[in-house]
Symmetry: D2
Subunit: 403 residues, 4 copies
């Protein structure tokens, strides 16, 4: 029978952190006593709670405390973090601390260091020169000092953004029974605010963006500077280029007939042509690609990362076929991103969600409720799901932003 | 071991009728020999096939022949239909013929009479004065002469509409990966054509039309004459009136905030108020309801049928709480309808689909693929499913039709 | 600028009531100050909070207070309820109090009376003889004293059931990525507990129960006494009887072939036959129906309510075609129900959910996540959604309960 | 105005090939005249049709003919295939022939050579020594003789499998309203038949197989020899091992409580541990992994391919992080596969579907109808979709096969 004390700060009631923490304690088989509960009197006052947790034998206290920290509760204590060198390249020491995507600090030599680049499911490496930072498993090198256990690691619970409107907006459940016109308007507002505050906007796209006829509107958004970085896969880039090269528009052939994806093998011909040129940029330079999302990215210098997948045909020469290298490139491009839009992409949206810190506002647009739920469920507190037609959504977003 | 011969006419290859018929024969355990197959040489020539079916013992030949007729294959023979009087009110004679929704003729006294008002799952009543017509079970009166068995009943297989574009359009599978902007355009075209040819347009609505903010656009379509008859339930009418009465617009409160459905009990207050006035029309007359879809219907004299359901609160005084009476009212309003639009409605859309003849072009718009599939599966050859956000779809349809 | 004080009791933190209440206040444009917050120290201690709400001009205070009461927060005050006679049959006085499905008391002559039969979206009628009880709008008679406004009405916030296992169970989100075998086991446990405590079990069924081959297992559950009352529609009862009469088993024809629903018109023939007999019970008595769910209900005297819908063919003579009468019959059969199972039914499940008090544990099983979400969203705190195949679920539930 | 003649053989009516071909012709803007139609008189006689296609100016005849060949129609003619050397490694000559997944022959020097390893979206390379074979784009080397254009390439239309029961089975639409117990039985039959005929069985798994508690049943199937090759990703293998190592069973913790996926970071610890061992096989050898699907594969020598994806944590050392290399390994393992089961996997199922010849019977099991539809739509004629809970399906399949 052990007792451990944790504390939690911030908007712990209205952000549901305290209830979630108490739930987890009871569900684990442990029990709690609330000590020193201070509930903020007004909606702007932060709250604070100290919780004594009594764990009977058989409760996995380590597991419980880890789980609590994901929700912002830190063990009380003033110990330094334990650092253990990585036993070999790409392997972490036993008991390594697995990060959340929350802002985190780590205590080394009595000082609290901020952990650079919050990312979920990483280790924390502390370095005399570089300070503390997250490191995905494969990047750890033999001998790197890695934080082990929970001692000396604290997270900050996420706080509300300024402007109550966002909060109400984000509080909405995933639903298709919401006025989508309003949601379009709100997403546009957040994009404007992001740019006004110097943040950048990431768009993650699946091929349905092209199939539903939204590629030309998205291209217009890129041209107008509303997209600062683009993540996608071989499918999106290929169909976007195919749509441009084969004279289709709005995802339909120009004579008004059939859907874009068109003839058997067309996408292979396009991939082969771009491979011959050597890269999308060279194909643009050579005048082979003259419009579309990828074209606009090349012309405007918007960086893009095309991550490979086992289902790819070809692939295009720009596709990073090694998935670990692809994720590393995505990481490198995330600096400064404050709003992420995920359009009809499952694979790349989840991959991106894994990399994003909790502070990036993320909107996931898909017609399939199950996909949106899956994304929202993956521990990213900041994801808002919008169940709607991505073609119509993008068209209306372009109207809103481009007038 | 029996042999029966059936024949089938029309575009039996490209409309998939012949393959389906052959499939059904084999699946039943019987076998076929094709006799006198005449395949139309060109895409406008009709085809004709005579099929000898060999049925081993154990095959339910009656069941098979019924199934074949649903797909346009008629037993060869020149017998009159057997007529048996209904044994009592609301009960059909044993072995009664159950109708398809295809154009049907019945042979009486050597003459082929056209069966009035094709409707699926009815009986055929033949009357000296009124000729032959479909009758739902509950309408049959004691002694009515009802067609029994398959003798003397022939159906006409559905033919392609003029204009190849519709055919290609309808041939599209149910899918969310289609450019919705094109589909909006095509639906608008069919509505224009219907009106140009003197047909009328039926709209069937669920409450999500209001929740997704499309009520004001739909009201504008009613005002502009694009809706000739409206079917809905208590929920749609209530939320539409609530949205009007409580000063909301586009499904959101006028101060830009929260979804329309709003406060607990609001819908009850609205229902109670309309009950006090006695009807929606009287509430409009009294100035209580001054906008919205129901308002426009009242003001423009567009007939509407509100069919009750066990989940209804109130209900509104205009709701027909007896479901058999409600379906009868819906039947009465179907005359002249040539295009039906079903917007985010499951219950009333299926109810309507059951009543429509195969000749009515039907578009079913819903964000949930399972709902669309269910509707398209219910034997209505003419239903086209569009998986998209009904709010954005209606908004764009109004833009397309109203400029 | 007005200030009103509300209070809330119970497990207000871990049941998320307090956060929800604070959210609603801020979202409405008002602000709060927490006064006298007492947080239960342990997981079994109740908490208590008194909240001062400051409402600037323009905030609809009435609407906000109504919304707060849905979540268990009552205005502080010791006033009697205002009673106003109903102006005419079926119409409530203006400003009537609309009920939640929570346990409710009302103050009359200084005494707090418990409101009988909690049901959402009703009025409260207070009667010298009968005390206070909920009344759906259509049941109110001219002159009935109806509670108006919020004064003198208090609700009790829902409390946790005994046994932490249920709580953890219910806390699970709607999800298809849960081990369904475990959920089957837990549902069986709750059914056993309900019976052990003298409660009864309601099952609400859609036709997919028959189509997915689960009718014979459900019939076995009825036979073994696990179903105390059954709600369904014309479709379920018809397909169940069709499946029995036409010699099919497990939803497939006995020769191992095709799905049950079978031939065109079969269901009409079955409906017609039962109509000839006059009722399902008479058809059973006459030996026409000899197995299946409806058969077992008749033989065991399990009450059933078949509520009509506008899509019904026939319908069967037992179907209550007036939907208001059908809902009244459903209300009458709910006495004593403590567990409700909803199997692949949308319409009748929502109808039932509207009638159930918050104290009835409700499990909604459907393969379509959107349906489950819709049901869980309709304000019934007690609904747990299980996204799975209803055929396999029922089969496994029968195995679990019947051995 | 050009005229080209194509021919099509086989069960062209009941397999819907002829109707589809005629549709495509009309939809392209061309027209047809049927010449020499021979319709097989009985259900086992093959049919044959010769079709003259008239193409007005503006019709893309090349595109149309390519599309027709996907559906089994070959241009009449006795020309040799044109062979053009690949211009550089990984780039095909312009106009290269893109393969279908149908059995294909190519005419070289007057002889028809069978193309080895049918696979969709490849080129055909003809080699003096090795004969003709499919080659994915990236495998083509500078100078390889590649088939260009349609001349001298013929496909064979897919034929029905023996046993009418399969045909009826496969003809079923994707649906959740089918008796899943029957489908389990039929899938088991096809697996037995595959083994009886010397074919092997491929299983493709997503992580939901573990989450829904089916991993131990799948492990039992591997142990009993019912799985000959396994494709999956990092997620499936990790959760399977985590489930084994952390003492969970059926996807739930042994004390009956919570879902398996469990604690934050658990999967990382498992991945790190296996990385330390160097491979899954070494972790099994060292006694670190002692049960589960991956364990059984290692112990029984069942080959597995774990294809990487950008969302992977870690990954496990066995994961092939280069997606092009991963697809090549999957190709290599497909030899001899005659039945493929896809369990709750989107990414790896689509990847596998792209590689499989049309002759492999493929069953795709997922609870999400949109996923199943997407898979069935991707041109793989042989995919049957089963919308159900993968956990319950696998459990019942194991019961059926293991007794």
């Amino acid at each position: 029978m052990a007792t451990i004390t944790v504390e939690i700060d911030g908007h712990i009631i209205d952000s549901l952190l305290l209830p979630k923490v108490l739930d987890l304690i009871v569900a684990s088989g442990a029990d709690y006593e609330l000590r020193d509960v201070h509930i903020g009197k007004t909606s702007t006052d932060p709250s604070h709670a100290v919780i004594d947790i009594t764990m009977p034998d058989g409760v996995d206290s380590e597991a419980l405390l880890i789980e609590l920290q994901v929700h912002g509760a830190n063990v009380i204590g003033e110990l330094d973090a334990s650092l253990v060198p990585a036993p070999t390249d790409g392997v972490l020491p036993e008991g390594f601390y697995a990060t959340t995507n929350l802002p985190t600090v780590v205590r080394v030599g009595g000082d609290w260091l901020e952990v650079a680049r919050p990312e979920m499911d990483c280790a924390i490496v502390v370095d005399a020169d570089r300070g503390a930072q997250t490191a995905p498993m494969h990047k750890v090198r033999h001998g790197d000092p890695v934080v082990v256990g929970l001692d000396g690691v604290r997270v900050t619970s996420p706080t509300r953004r300024q402007g109550s409107s966002l909060f109400e907006f984000m509080a909405s459940d995933v639903s298709s029974e919401k006025p989508q016109a309003l949601l379009v308007h709100r997403v546009a507002e957040r994009m404007r605010l992001a740019h006004a505050e110097g943040g950048s906007i990431l768009v993650v796209c699946g091929p349905a963006v092209v199939h539903t006829g939204a590629a030309s509107e998205l291209a217009a958004l890129v041209r107008a500077g509303w997209v600062d970085v683009l993540f996608a896969g071989n499918g999106f880039a290929t169909h976007d280029i195919e749509s441009s090269v084969l004279g289709t528009s709005l995802g339909i052939s120009v004579d008004g007939g059939e859907p874009a994806e068109g003839g058997h093998g067309n996408h292979l011909r396009v991939i082969n042509d771009v491979r011959r040129h050597g890269s999308i940029a060279k194909a643009v330079e050579a005048g082979f690609v003259t419009s579309g999302v990828m074209y606009e990215c090349v012309v405007r210098g918007v960086p893009f990362v095309l991550g490979g997948s086992v289902r790819d045909d070809g692939p295009l020469p720009d596709v990073i076929t090694d998935v670990v290298a692809a994720a590393d490139r995505m990481r490198a491009e995330l600096t400064g991103v404050s709003v992420a839009l995920m359009f009809a992409s499952t694979l790349h949206a989840i991959a991106t969600g894994n990399l994003l810190p909790a502070s990036v506002e993320t909107f996931c647009v898909d017609i399939n409720q199950a996909v949106v739920t899956k994304l929202a469920d993956r521990g990213s507190h900041q994801v808002m799901g919008i169940v709607t037609d991505v073609g119509l959504f993008t068209r209306n977003l372009a109207r809103e932003l481009l007038g």
